[in-house]
Symmetry: C2
Subunit: 250 residues, 2 copies
């Protein structure tokens, strides 16, 4: 009996940004695994079971979903944003690689979603108009020296930088340290954005510069965007200024 | 009279990956601008005018759309993938910054889309499971030395690298040069993927390694993905191997 696992990106939160493919895949699943906060976004459906788990239990969640898919069930795992960008997809494939051989024969489909990166950029204008990178500040999963090496390389090479997982109760100092490091590499006027809960009712966006950026503005729902030296700010008669990074680079 | 411009990401091509927000925004527009090939993807609608233009006419297209929005029309500009990722959004904001003051008062909404990067990653498994970057190989818009500097920085820092605009008739040698440069920075076993027209009927995916990668596999519809040293390949009893980059980094 061949099981099926869908790894689904729910997008940033606004239901109008959930793709029809993701909606159809969710509707076809009889078992849905995910972080409780993401499961709560999905409208309940008769005959569909929910398997909520905590934020930090990604490995156990992936294995539980795969084990159930192996029995022939139609299983889905959900992530906020895109499951492939610091979401559940990598945890699933890691579990497959080191799991029982039967898991290699499962049908696994990854359904892309609007990542926080794209949703935040769209809100601001076009800050990703040129070359960019995404870095997770979580040092649960890598040494802090790897993070600092990447920040220095990215700033030096002129990438716009998106920082995922900038802060949490368990990671209180990392963003402050990252901003301090970037201040040594980039002009103080470089735009910095703290974008929290984007497209959700409690959305909050704060524009700053590297000189004035306050790490306390970030929590675990925040994506922090650091411009490059080329990123420009357009003031408007009313409303938040726009940010964009020109396609032409020096 | 206050005009409105929506800058809409159509996603990679599969209509099931067009977000409801993008579909609603398209339906509300009376004038739609874009590269002809992208406009052809949108179902015709009575009372809606199309303004197709060539691939290379981004600046003129942005200005024409803004000028029409200024008259009070409901205007949309479309991009494939996400308009903010090497799409039309940066061209629009550049036109606004250097255009007439009235354009600063326009209502401009950017509607995110599933970028090629996310669609390709989803097809492959989870190659973006860790820190990554996106680089355009187009040297119309920046000196080739900027491209090489960024490639070296990204490879050295351990980013997975997505190469946009890898090849076209006007840019025949750049991808070969980029691959040669990366061979000097990364092991020959590093996975390389040529993903063309992903989610469209003529989708074509070729898995290679840095040692064997042949630049001739890319055309202007191709996204090239270069793994990091950490990216892993999972062989399967049947079907294309999966690629993923573990969340843990050394």
């Amino acid at each position: 009996m061949s099981g099926r696992l869908a790894v689904i990106g729910l997008g940033p939160g606004d239901p109008a940004l959930l793709t029809p493919q993701a909606a159809a895949s969710l509707a076809a699943a009889t078992e849905v695994f995910g972080y409780g906060r993401y499961l709560a976004r999905i409208p309940p459906r008769a005959g569909q079971r929910r398997h909520p788990s905590d934020n930090r239990e990604e490995d156990a969640r992936a294995r539980a979903a795969l084990a159930l898919a192996e029995t022939g069930a139609a299983v889905a795992i959900v992530s906020g944003g895109d499951a492939g960008v610091f979401g559940m997809a990598a945890a699933v494939f890691e579990a497959i690689e080191f799991g029982p051989p039967a898991w290699h024969a499962l049908e696994v489909e990854v359904i892309p979603g609007i990542s926080a990166l794209l949703a935040v950029a769209a809100r601001l204008g076009a800050p990703l108009g040129h070359d960019f990178c995404a870095i997770s500040l979580s040092d649960n999963l890598k040494p802090w020296t790897t993070v600092t090496r990447r920040l220095i390389a990215a700033a030096g090479a002129g990438f716009v930088i998106a920082l995922y997982n900038p802060a949490s109760r368990a990671r209180p100092w990392q963003l402050g340290a990252a901003l301090a490091l970037l201040r040594a590499c980039l002009p103080g006027t470089t735009p910095v954005v703290f974008a929290t809960a984007v497209t959700r009712p409690d959305e909050r966006i704060a524009l700053a510069t590297l000189a004035t950026a306050d790490a306390a503005l970030a929590d675990m729902r925040t994506l922090v965007l650091i411009g490059s030296e080329a990123t420009r700010r357009i003031e408007r008669p009313a409303g938040t200024p726009w940010l964009y990074t020109p396609r032409h680079a020096p």
